[in-house]
């Protein structure tokens, strides 16, 4: 325990000496991700404007904290961290970069308030040496109404159904699932649509549980974000393997790769 205290103090000391680093010259905007956002959140927290998690993703709470800061310091209130805002922020706050990054790497939960020793602001004693060399943000942007697990489930379905298809064919399959969600003839949850008995062959033969690749995930994100290459389709089938006659009677919209998409 004592040894850890000392090492923490030591780390703190080294960091105090090394506190010269400041933002890159980008304008930071809501939705941004990365080191600059980490610094922005940490600095805003240091002077008490930001009480959320320092996670490196510029969400709404960071946005309001930044605006309050701009308001307090007589800067134009626009929610953008531009040159003057960043300069002011650097002037009135401190940023212990290696402390913040170390805690993130170790997966500790921590705060970065000023006027309180940093060593007292760490919860959880994940003292394992950090394995990763690059600092990853501890949160992710998600489209409204979808969690990362929803995206993963959709990616599983897309990968199982269409992994050999061209990229837009995969986006189109994801779009069909989302179109069904909105459609009165289908269940109204992602799991309900995907696991509807007989709806998808990948569910029936278990291929849905293969591990999806990045392309499938990307395709799902594109579909959720509003791209629909299927042209509003709610069915698709592979003409080479389709055994059901009824599916051929559906009005067809277009063909992408091996699949025909229809209403």
């Amino acid at each position: 325990m004592r040894g850890r205290m000392i090492s923490c103090l030591l780390v703190c000391f080294i960091m105090c000496a090394g506190e010269v680093h400041a933002f890159s010259n980008q304008v930071i905007q809501r939705g941004a991700v990365g080191d600059d956002v980490l610094e922005l959140q940490a600095r805003l927290q240091y002077i008490g404007f930001y009480n959320g998690k320092i996670d490196g993703v510029f969400g709404w709470s960071t946005y309001w904290a930044l605006r309050n800061f701009q308001d307090k310091f007589g800067l134009p209130v626009d929610g953008l961290a531009g040159e003057s805002t960043k300069a002011k922020l650097v002037k009135v706050s401190k940023y212990y970069e290696s402390f913040v990054k170390e805690q993130i790497q170790k997966g500790n939960s921590f705060t970065h308030y000023g006027g309180k020793p940093l060593s007292e602001q760490v919860k959880g004693d994940n003292n394992a040496t950090a394995a990763k060399t690059t600092v990853q943000t501890t949160a992710t942007n998600v489209p409204k109404g979808f969690s990362q697990n929803d995206i993963r489930l959709l990616a599983n379905a897309v990968y199982g159904e269409a992994r050999g298809e061209p990229y837009i064919g995969q986006v189109a399959v994801a779009a069909v699932i989302l179109n069904r969600l909105e459609h009165p003839s289908f269940p109204d949850s992602i799991a309900g649509v995907i696991f509807q008995p007989g709806a998808f062959t990948a569910v029936a033969d278990g291929q849905i549980w293969l591990t999806p690749n990045e392309t499938a995930k990307k395709a799902v994100l594109d579909a959720i974000n509003g791209w629909d290459p299927s042209g509003g389709a709610i069915y698709y089938f592979n003409p080479a393997t389709a055994t059901n006659g009824w599916i051929w009677s559906r009005p067809q919209i277009k063909r992408i790769g091996k699949h025909i998409f229809c209403k």
Binding site: G31, P184, G198, G226
Partner: protein, 447 residues
């Protein structure tokens, strides 16, 4: 001696193989029974829910007092939703059963809207009563048909697994009772939804499929579409372009353009409406390299692109970074009023700031706006309608599409309550709280 040993050894093998096979068989049967039971539960539950639905609609017809009508309609809504979910669990997706599902969704939408309405101020109209009566009738028919199927299922020990098999392999025996029964239900409902004039509040469900209202003008040819793609994507002319016209299933015909750049080996896809030649969406799936520009720079690039293509009155509404791509949402702004239905999405690569995605689907499907009404209540009055615990941070006027699928002019408030951010819309004419959204854009990683 060796022989005896060998015989003993082999017979042991036979016995253990037999035992193993028996176990496998048992296990397989157990799973089959389990799956069958799941289907049976969903089916019997469905018939029960339709019974309840029929009874409940009947009760609402007899009711006169507004105070009991609202909860009764809410109950109809709940039962319809549950029945809808039961249908989703049956292996019917290869059977044309959409009309029945649509019917359940329509009952749900109708009862929800009438239940949440202030029936003292706006009692049920004559048409709505008529609709309710028609729904009652139809629910009775469905109930009868399903009861009949249920009876046969129970009497003849029919299995849903057989239905699933029959539907999947398509060599369905002509006397599959379950399939025939559901087909009868479907036909029955079909004649109904086509022949009955639903009350005006019903339009919304079919409204969605209206297509691109904004795409007006003359029909363009393939070569014109090619030209549009060239100028919109800023092509150099060395690319090969493939063009395909959409099939008859599309609400509005469109051209699908595939552009292949032999230099970068990258493909860009684009859809263009046939009427008027409007770009619907663009997708460029090139690998994006290391981030070199900020999300802010990307949104400036996006704005420039829109200006160049004569979307002049658009402003940035939302931005998010996914890996090295910024996804931006722009909405129209008419004289300081945000028009949320008119949204355009863009993707900008953060390595060199090129546009890698564009989608005007929402914009093209949004109806052109009539002249905006003058607000009858003031901003201050609207603010008083808010929950007093919400701390208002931003306010403006905005047009949104409400629950009834109407475009309404609202005061928009962005505020915080605790750690959460909310977007609240108050109607400028009626003072009604049209919509309250919790804004969530960031989720922690679970790894």
């Amino acid at each position: 001696m060796v022989r005896v040993l060998l015989i003993a050894f082999l017979s042991l093998g036979v016995v253990s193989t037999a035992y193993w096979g028996y176990r496998e068989h048992q296990e397989k049967n157990a799973i089959l029974v389990h799956a069958e039971n799941n289907y049976q539960r969903a089916f019997h539950d469905l018939t029960y829910k339709i019974d309840m639905l029929h009874d409940q609609i009947g009760t609402t017809l007899a009711m006169n007092s507004r105070t009991s009508l609202s909860p009764a309609l809410a109950e109809v809504w709940r039962i319809a939703a549950e029945a809808h979910s039961d249908v989703g669990q049956l292996p019917l997706s290869l059977l044309p059963f959409n009309k029945t599902q649509q019917f359940l969704a329509q009952i749900g939408a109708f009862s929800y809207r009438t239940a949440v309405r202030d029936l003292d101020k706006e009692p049920l109209t004559k048409e709505e009563y008529k609709t309710l009566q028609a729904l009652y009738q139809k629910a009775a028919n469905i109930q009868n048909e399903l009861r009949n199927v249920q009876h046969l299922v129970l009497k003849n020990h029919l299995r849903w697994m057989d239905v699933e098999l029959a539907l999947a392999t398509n060599n369905r025996p002509s006397d599959n009772t379950i399939i025939d029964g559901f087909k009868a239900v479907e036909n029955d409902v079909q004649s109904f939804s086509e022949g009955t004039n639903f009350a005006p509040t019903f339009t919304t469900i079919t409204n969605r499929e209206k297509g691109f209202i904004r795409a007006k003008g003359k029909q363009i040819s393939e070569t014109e579409a090619k030209q549009i793609a060239k100028s919109f994507l800023g092509l150099k002319g060395t690319e090969t372009i493939k063009i395909v016209r959409s099939g008859k299933g599309a609400d509005e015909r469109f051209y699908s353009v595939t552009v292949f750049d032999p230099k970068t080996k990258a493909e860009t896809y684009m859809d263009i409406t046939e009427k008027g030649g409007y770009p619907i969406w663009v997708m460029d799936n090139r690998p994006v390299k290391k981030q070199a520009i900020s999300v802010y720079d990307a949104s400036v690039k996006g704005q420039q692109f829109l200006k160049k293509h004569r979307f002049t009155n658009f402003e940035l509404y939302d931005s998010s970074q996914y890996d090295n791509v910024a996804v931006l949402t722009f909405v129209a702004n008419e004289q300081g009023v945000r028009i949320y239905p008119e949204a355009i999405k863009m993707k900008v690569a953060l390595d060199d700031g090129t546009i890698v995605g564009f989608s005007a689907r929402d914009y093209l499907a949004s109806p052109p706006l009539p002249t905006l009404p003058k607000p009858t209540i003031s901003l201050a009055e609207a603010r008083k309608k808010l929950n007093p615990n919400v701390r208002v941070m931003e306010e403006r006027q905005a047009v949104i599409t409400n629950d009834l699928n109407q475009e309404v002019l609202c005061y928009e408030f962005l505020g915080t309550l605790g750690d959460d951010t909310y977007q609240i819309f108050i109607n400028t004419q009626t003072g009604l709280e049209e919509k309250v959204d919790k804004m969530q854009s960031v989720e922690r990683n679970y790894e």
